[in-house]
Symmetry: C2
Subunit: 164 residues, 2 copies
């Protein structure tokens, strides 16, 4: 096996400055587009299904915790939840312990969606792993996790730190 066997850079120059970042960008793009295509079948946009999955799996959540979880701000979360509420997939119930807060929970109607989303994700995962062996899949998972860890690691920026 000579080094020529595996083209290190598929896009010879475009990735020069940061090959891995570039590859992540492209992978993310492709993956997101495919997810978007599949999800449009059930009227969801990419990202919304993650929120729903979180609710299905962990039950009612406060918006703040959701915003935290998804690294977004409360404003974006408000609107995302509103859209899902309009679609009939989530419901807000006042938090009994904190009258400022509302808890977001999946509606019974969303359980139909859940089946579809699970099918879509299975399909997405199938296409993502392709012909990879289970070992290769574990390795891929490890690598992707490590990359994420790298990014979150030395970014200890809990306060967005503004002058005020």
């Amino acid at each position: 096996m000579s080094a020529e066997d595996v083209p290190i850079e598929r896009r010879p120059d475009a990735a020069a400055g940061g090959p891995i970042s570039h590859a992540i960008f492209r992978l993310a793009r492709t993956h997101r587009m495919l997810a978007g295509q599949l999800l449009r079948q059930v009227g969801l946009h990419p990202g919304q299904e993650l929120l729903m999955m979180r609710l299905w799996e962990s039950g009612p959540q406060r918006q703040t915790d959701l915003a935290d979880e998804f690294d977004t701000d409360s404003a974006s979360m408000t609107r995302t939840v509103q859209r899902l509420e309009r679609a009939g997939y989530v419901r807000r119930v006042p938090d009994p312990d904190d009258r400022r807060a509302t808890r977001v929970e999946p509606t019974p109607a969303s359980l139909v969606l859940r089946k579809q989303v699970e099918r879509i994700w299975k399909d997405l995962e199938r296409r993502t792993v392709g012909e990879m062996t289970p070992d290769e899949q574990r390795e891929a998972l490890r690598v992707v996790h490590q990359l994420e860890d790298n990014l979150t690691a030395h970014e200890p920026d809990p306060e967005r730190s503004v002058s005020r």
Copy 2:
């Protein structure tokens, strides 16, 4: 080394349906957000710098080719180019060979930006690879490329295939 050493799923249940897809989603999110943060320093949005890099590296391009390259449609590309044009980073020149087409080229002024973008990408890449050894980096690149290949492989959908 027992199996417990490496948590296969950091988010025990949330990734159940498609661990790798889920990991890609999270990685992409984090990566994009970091890129966005860094790029905001120079007034670019994530994605725009890829377009600029393409222009810097490969010279003037027709919009259609750019839209193709970035898997978007001509409408989105039109607006993206317009924004970059307003910002003074690109210029349109009529294609001498095809009077329907315009060629997009980087402006001399954009060369300042280029230095900054290259610095940012270097920084981004540095944070992405973290403490990985060169071997690990090559492996990561291989994995990410393979995942992308998997997704593009058996998606032979050149025509978006509508009933019309």
